[in-house]
Symmetry: none
DNA sequence: CCAAAAAGTAATCGATTTGTAATAAAAATG
DNA sequence: CATTTTTATTACAAATCGATTACTTTTTGG
């Protein structure tokens, strides 16, 4: 099934944007454009399948935009950085290498299209492999983000689901609150370890009898068994 | 099966740490950072899957850190050295202390990611490389932090577990109370050597017959045999 | 803009862990 | 062998940690 992928182009060079837009639209992509970092962050990033992001822009740089998308918005949308000439020595200051791929200017449209397709294809592949962790009657579908017990869907919030996934993925292993914070809250918000407790409590309540499978141990953290 | 590997970055250049962090997190790794050798050694090294270690740091150098990890802590976690020097002698020193790889600055992020993946992939084959110390029916799982005797889990407190791990890792070797304090209590609290005694006593009681495997010798400390 | 849901905060209480001190036992010393 | 030092054990107290609740703030979705 073919789907029209949505791509956001972020670049302050208007001409370049238009060339990209024209060519990518010919390839069947749906294009949206932001002419600055600020403008990009006003878009609903979640809606895009891929972002073409210029690194060097006045004001909010591409690096900042990428950082915000990852750390604050927590969106894993693929990002391709567009950057001026590659200088390997520039890594320290130029931020010219990024998350999913980078393309250095000047580039050929063919190259851009090829890389976009490669990344979207890769994403497709991952999406198709369903990843389900099962424990007795309880099933945690990591991809669909759905938890069921005996076929019945359990309504978990995002945080609850993330915690359950993390523990289920590491069955039998104690994971400290600190580690849970690092992995789920990342480092963008400062919350205390009490938050973990509270969410564990909520989670336990929701999964009923399975709640007792989440063991808490003083000094060690939590463990699913 | 995809797993989130934990990587510890040790470098006193904050900018570089952040760039590495950003890029490695994009790759799905869980990142922790230490801005000095001292800080690094306060981390629970056992918990990481790989360590990126800067050689040139004020105070405790990268070599010292690596040396401590290998010789004292007896942890076989892969280590990649980051260094400005491309001096052959340095390379030799690095491999003497058990470095798994060597990357000289300036480097491209792609290179770092590639090397990390290569090493982790290789490590996958070796599987859980002696994360479990066994002595007859007693097993100490350093990663899961669980101790079992004949399959039955022994409920150890954190300190008890740390002491048992330390002694078990250095089977047959006497470790002084002072050394135990340094390694387990670190330098955050000032407690007397009596604390070690007390915890040893508690530990001995909990591991039953194996308690007599922990030998105490006046003037030497404790030894597991 | 409002209502509902989600997530964060604070406070409490109980449990667990750890530290302290006292004492007994063992080992070292001369 | 007597004395001093070191170590083991015990009981108790202090500190820390963790679960839960109620409440507030933030986010989400219409």
């Amino acid at each position: 099934m073919e789907e029209n992928h949505r791509i956001l182009i972020v670049d302050d060079e208007k001409d370049l944007c238009e060339i990209l837009q024209f060519n990518l639209e010919s390839e069947g992509f749906v294009i949206d454009i932001a002419y600055s970092g600020e403008e990009a962050l006003k878009k609903d990033i979640q809606d895009y399948d891929l972002i073409l992001l210029d690194v060097m822009m006045e004001g909010v740089s591409g690096y900042k935009v990428a950082n915000t998308i990852r750390k604050q918005l927590k969106i894993t949308v693929p990002i391709i950085f567009l950057t001026a000439k590659i200088d390997e020595n520039d890594v320290l200051t130029g931020f010219n290498v990024g998350a999913d791929d980078y393309i250095s200017k000047p580039f050929s449209i063919k190259e851009v299209v090829a890389r976009i397709k490669a990344i979207l294809k890769r994403g497709q592949g991952i999406a198709n492999e369903s990843n389900v962790i099962a424990h007795q009657e309880m099933k945690v579908d990591l991809k669909k983000k759905i938890t069921t017990i005996g076929g019945e869907t359990i309504n978990l919030t995002r945080k609850e689901f993330e915690i359950l996934s993390l523990l289920a993925k590491n069955k039998g292993q104690y994971i400290s609150r600190d580690e849970i914070l690092k992995r789920i809250w990342k480092d963008d918000v400062i919350v205390t370890e009490r938050n973990v407790d509270v969410n564990i409590a909520r989670l336990r309540k929701k999964i009923g009898d399975y709640g007792s499978n989440i063991k808490g141990k003083s000094g060690y953290g939590y463990c699913f068994q």
